[in-house]
């Protein structure tokens, strides 16, 4: 049965390949905020027919049809947009939906989601290759490299290394702290600061004692997260936070989630901005 179906898929694939051979796919679905950003940065935004709900930048992306949340895609939903190619971040899922999309002959390019500068480069390269725009891809890479050098210089200019606690707020009452191996941890370190929760791995629930022991100087949070909590004042009523250095001085820094943690083309700029805000706040 599988062999037979792949035949139908193969026919579809061949048809798709024929039309896209020359200039790359013209109907593309992007899954993942950073992926969408890269497509627009390559000047290929008009090729996007749909994106996922995490694709909130640039503004043009907000006007595109949505195929749902990145981790809970529906294969038929994506295919209904008649894409010739799908470009997805590594966390896109469920895996069965991705497999189903590929089974019908639509190629799915997956870009890595590690939390480092190299990932940004690889992402740009892969997206550019999929779109058939290697030249523009190289240009974008060069621009990003230049911005990175600039950001590095800026970070090196600061003398202090503030202790930062990153808070991920889902719902009203639960909050998670970012330990090592998270996007937030990587950005904090790139920005010349220390992750106050470096001893733990991944996201762990916030406890009062742990927060006080970690003694962060600054609380870092996404603007969306701060909204969920209900503003800076409500933030300090979280367990233990008020008794930390950050809490006593009421030092909180908020950034847009995709900008800060997306590891898209704006990443070097985000590092520079973050460093500035973190060091300016102390």
């Amino acid at each position: 049965m599988e062999r037979f179906l792949t035949a139908a898929g193969a026919v579809a694939l061949a048809a798709a390949a024929a039309t896209t051979a020359a200039q790359g796919p013209t109907r593309v679905v992007a899954v993942g905020g950073a992926v969408t950003e890269i497509v627009y940065a390559l000047g290929a935004g008009e090729r996007l027919v749909a994106v996922d709900t995490t694709s909130v930048y640039p503004e043009a992306a907000l006007k595109l049809p949505k195929v749902g949340y990145m981790r809970t895609l529906s294969s038929e939903g994506v295919l209904a947009m008649r894409p010739q190619a799908v470009i997805a971040a590594a966390e896109a899922g469920p895996k069965s939906a991705i497999a189903q999309i590929e089974l019908t002959g639509v190629p799915v390019t997956t870009v890595p989601s590690d939390h480092n500068l190299d990932t940004v480069r690889v992402r740009v390269r892969k997206v550019a290759a999929t779109l058939g725009l290697p030249g523009r891809g190289e240009e974008l890479e060069k621009r990003i490299a230049a911005q990175w050098t600039d950001a590095e210089r800026a970070v090196a200019s600061y003398a202090t290394r503030p202790r930062v606690l990153f808070l991920l707020a889902h719902t009203g009452n639960s909050a998670l702290v970012a330990g090592e191996d998270t996007a937030a941890d990587a950005m904090i370190r790139y920005a010349g600061a220390t992750n106050a929760f470096a001893g733990v791995n991944g996201y762990k629930p916030l406890t009062a004692e742990a927060a006080i022991a970690a003694a962060p100087d600054i609380v870092l949070i996404t603007t969306e997260g701060l909204e969920t909590i209900g503003g800076a004042d409500r933030l300090w009523s979280r367990p233990g936070l008020a008794l930390t250095p950050a809490g006593k001085a009421k030092r909180v820094v908020a950034f847009d989630a995709l900008y800060l943690l997306g590891f898209g083309p704006r990443m070097p700029q985000a590092v520079k901005d973050l460093a500035a805000r973190l060091h300016g706040a102390t």
């Binding site: 139908a8 898929g9 749902g68 295919l79 209904a80 008649r82 189903q100 019908t104």
Partner: protein, 370 residues
């Protein structure tokens, strides 16, 4: 009459058909209706979806598979979507729904109570917990096992988990041949609480990818269907269905009590063991591929019983048919109502099932002998 006539001819025979009780739908009508209902639901399911395939095109695609039509009337991608995404999904829905339906009916026969349901009494939870354990701990916990069982590790673990939970609940809730419904439901609550706690622990230690896999279990979805998965699940659920269907008459006898069933020549211990294992197999296989789907095992047999009476000759096949129709219908609504996103089908079965369950409880209030 002084004596008892020994031969049929001497008996006063009124008619050869049983007199249906007032308000009951005769078996033949009901089963025919359910088959037709399932047919309609399946057709609607195959013809609906986020991806546009008109009913006519769907028919052409299917005809083409068996060589009755050319490939002209539809696009290659429509064929691919229908055959590798939609059809397996509908087929899985039928299997899972039928399996849960008949497992529910079997549990109700086993516990001699119309309120027993695989999810309520914790059997699905046990299966889900075992599956979660395999997902998060599998390789670490029993190193050689998952390697040797390969892709079958998850369904086998789910089956084992369901069986353990079913046996546990049975032992707790049955004493001196009587099963207390209150203890049954409480045992189910306890097991479900344990499952939540266990899954909570696994969630805590799980890495990102495992977490994503875990989230799947709580919702209930047949979206991951593929022909490979069907090849796996169909024999398991199919075998369970066949085994349970053949127990219709012993189940009727069991309804009179375990001793009574024994007096009628039934090996009651064996009946209980076979029914429990088969039901756990059906539930385990269903949970392994589609997560926890609530209330189908309660709803389907109960509706059939309400309409046609409790004879298992009707209730068992009826529960299969109605269960399948429910799951496929819920899944179809789930994937078309908010397209291109999807709502898990468990949401709809819960929406229908929970109020139904409450209505049942209210009705039974008068006769509460908990």
């Amino acid at each position: 009459m002084s004596g008892l006539a020994a031969r049929s001819e001497d008996l006063r025979v009124q008619s050869r058909r049983p007199l249906p009780a007032r308000g009951r739908v005769p078996a033949r009508w009901a089963l025919s209706f359910l088959v037709a209902l399932l047919g309609v639901v399946v057709l609607a399911a195959v013809a609906s979806g986020a991806f546009q395939i008109r009913p006519g095109e769907a028919i052409l695609i299917l005809a083409h598979q068996v060589g009755l039509a050319s490939a002209d009337g539809f696009a290659a991608q429509q064929e691919a979507v229908l055959m590798s995404i939609r059809l397996p999904r509908v087929a899985l829905g039928i299997l899972v729904g039928a399996g849960l339906g008949i497992a529910g009916a079997a549990m109700q026969a086993l516990f001699r109570n119309p309120l027993a349901d695989p999810t309520l009494i914790g059997v699905s939870g046990g299966a889900a917990l075992a599956a979660a354990a395999v997902i998060v701990m599998g390789v670490v916990w029993i190193p050689g096992l998952s390697r040797s069982l390969g892709p079958a590790t998850l369904p086998i673990a789910a089956f084992a988990g369901g069986l353990v939970a079913a046996t546990l609940v049975y032992r707790i809730a049955t004493y001196a041949g009587r099963t207390s419904i209150a203890v049954l439901l409480l045992a189910g609550i306890a097991i479900n609480a344990l499952v939540e706690a266990g899954i909570g622990v696994f969630t805590y230690v799980a890495n990102d990818e495992q977490l994503r896999n875990l989230a799947f279990w709580r919702l209930g979805s047949v979206g991951g269907a593929s022909w490979t998965i069907l090849a796996f699940v169909a024999p398991a659920i199919g075998a369970a269905m066949v085994v349970l269907w053949r127990l219709a008459a012993p189940f009727d006898a069991l309804a009179l009590g375990e001793s009574e069933a024994r007096h009628l020549g039934i090996d009651v211990q064996r009946l209980k063991a076979v029914a429990l294992v088969a039901a756990a197999l059906a539930v385990g296989a269903a949970v392994a591929v589609s997560g926890m789907i609530f209330f189908v095992g309660l709803l389907a047999p109960h509706v059939v019983r309400l309409a046609c009476g409790p004879a298992h000759r009707v209730v068992l096949p009826g529960a299969m048919l109605l269960g399948a129709a429910l799951v496929v219908a819920a899944d179809t609504v789930g994937r078309t109502s908010v397209a291109p996103a999807e709502l898990p089908l468990g949401v709809f079965t819960a929406f229908i099932g929970a109020p139904f369950f409450v209505a049942l409880l209210l009705r039974e209030r008068r006769a509460w002998v908990l």
